[in-house]
């Protein structure tokens, strides 16, 4: 054994002992919140190392909204009538597109495995990952929604309401998406199935979101659908990470 130690000892022995020996005694476990915070930071930092991937859903969103004037008519009154639907369908599709990246890399490089074996609550870690995903794709998409709305002839007064609705709605979309992405982890090709799993579950968001947008465009109070959107978000925050972590564990089996 001595031979081994000396061969590898490229630094003072005392130093080495300092790192390893007191081990169990001094190594304070990270709390669930610290762990979740680090998981979130890691994903944010990684995303900024690969900015191209961040831009893709945004470009896709812009592209889809551009299709409608071309396909329907350039007349703003007509576009305004379909604007809520266009915005929310584009939002739903763009967030679906972004989901592909949510767990895939982590599954490949063993990060998910380490999360599952970290002794931390996997539910919290999944929540953190989804939160990061929402910050990186949901929020930018939400910020783009008012711009897209303008291009569809929506009056400026409606924009704050639309922004609010899309922000709240995208929370739920990301969380539902995290379940779908986790469930399809074990599959070789998941694209179409991922949509088949998540879109039906996202319908309530689509319905309430489009309604809120419609009301905002009409200049009517939009509290009712916003409250419903918020209720959905609360429900998703409490339940979706549980389901996603269960699904991740299953994918590692």
């Amino acid at each position: 054994m001595n031979a081994g130690t000396s061969a590898a000892g490229t630094l003072p022995a005392a130093h080495a002992a300092g790192t390893a020996a007191p081990a169990a005694a001094s190594a304070a476990a990270a709390s669930a919140l610290e762990a979740a915070w680090l998981a979130l930071l890691r994903d944010v930092q990684l995303a900024f190392r690969r900015r191209a991937q961040l831009v893709q859903p945004l470009a896709f969103f812009a592209l889809v909204t551009m299709l409608f004037p071309l396909a329907i008519s350039p007349e703003l009154t007509q576009l305004r009538a379909v604007a809520p639907g266009v915005l929310w369908v584009a939002e739903l599709l763009a967030s679906l597109l972004a989901l592909e990246f949510l767990f895939r890399d982590d599954a490949h490089d063993g990060t998910l495995e380490q999360y599952a074996l970290s002794g931390q609550s996997l539910t919290w870690l999944m929540f953190a990952k989804t939160a990061a995903h929402w910050l990186l794709t949901g929020v930018p998409l939400a910020l783009m929604a008012p711009l897209a709305a303008l291009s569809l002839g929506v009056p400026v007064t409606a924009l704050p309401g639309i922004l609010l609705a899309v922000i709240v709605g995208s929370v739920t979309l990301s969380l539902i998406g995290s379940i779908g992405a986790a469930l399809t982890l074990g599959l070789k090709r998941s694209g179409a199935l991922l949509s088949l799993l998540t879109v039906p579950l996202s319908l309530p968001v689509l319905i309430f979101g489009a309604r809120a947008t419609q009301l905002a465009i009409n200049g009517a109070p939009l509290l009712a659908p916003l409250e419903l959107l918020a209720a959905l978000a609360v429900l998703a925050v409490t339940l979706a990470p549980l389901a996603a972590s269960a699904a991740v564990r299953i994918s590692l089996e």
Binding site: M1, A3, G4, T5, A7, A8, G9, T10, L11, H15, A16, G18, T19, A20, A21, P22, A23, A24, S26, A27, A28, A29, A30, E34, A35, L38, A39, L41, R42, Q45, L46, R49, R50, D105, D109, G110, T111, E113, Q114, Y115, A116, L117, S118, G119, Q120, S121, L125, L252, E253
Partner: protein, 208 residues
Amino acid sequence: MPEATLEVENLHVFRGERHVLRGVQFALAGGEYLEVRGANGAGKTSLLRALCGLIWPEEGQVRWNSINVRADLRAFHSRLAYLGHEPPLKADLSARENLRYWIGVRRRLRSAELDAALERAGAGSWCERLVRTLSAGQRRRVALAGLALLAVPLWLLDEPATHLDADGQQLVSALIGEQLARGGLVVAAVHQSLPAAAPQLRTLELPA
């Protein structure tokens, strides 16, 4: 580190239709090192994954300090470190950042500790480089630095010495030796025995 034991009783594991592990059985106490050998496909990885609770065995159980690990899987996980085939590193983060996140999720980490561990693994000079620019052996060294930092009593290592040069293999042996000296337990799946393996070496041969 308090005395610890790992007991495995009559473990049966299926992968799909294949009955990979047929009644694996062993007991390991603090300071003991178990080498799991076997041909490719003999179930070395499956055994390690079943030990740490990723795979549910069809039959049998794993006990940590005489308690079935299924009783509190999370507590058991906080006592173990598992290193799979591939080091769990992000290609787009530097070696140092990788450890910072990977280990930080589990325990509070001082920056001096981190530097010392990287230095120890021979990564001092290149620990700020992105992992995508590192060789397989270098990545393995980063993972070993992480292993030492985790400071847990049970190590489950899958081929810990692959891609490593002679110096690196010595590092693995040294780390294992220290872990055993502290009263820790090590289970490693290996193709060929590590050089200068511990005197407490025990082996488990998995039939093909």
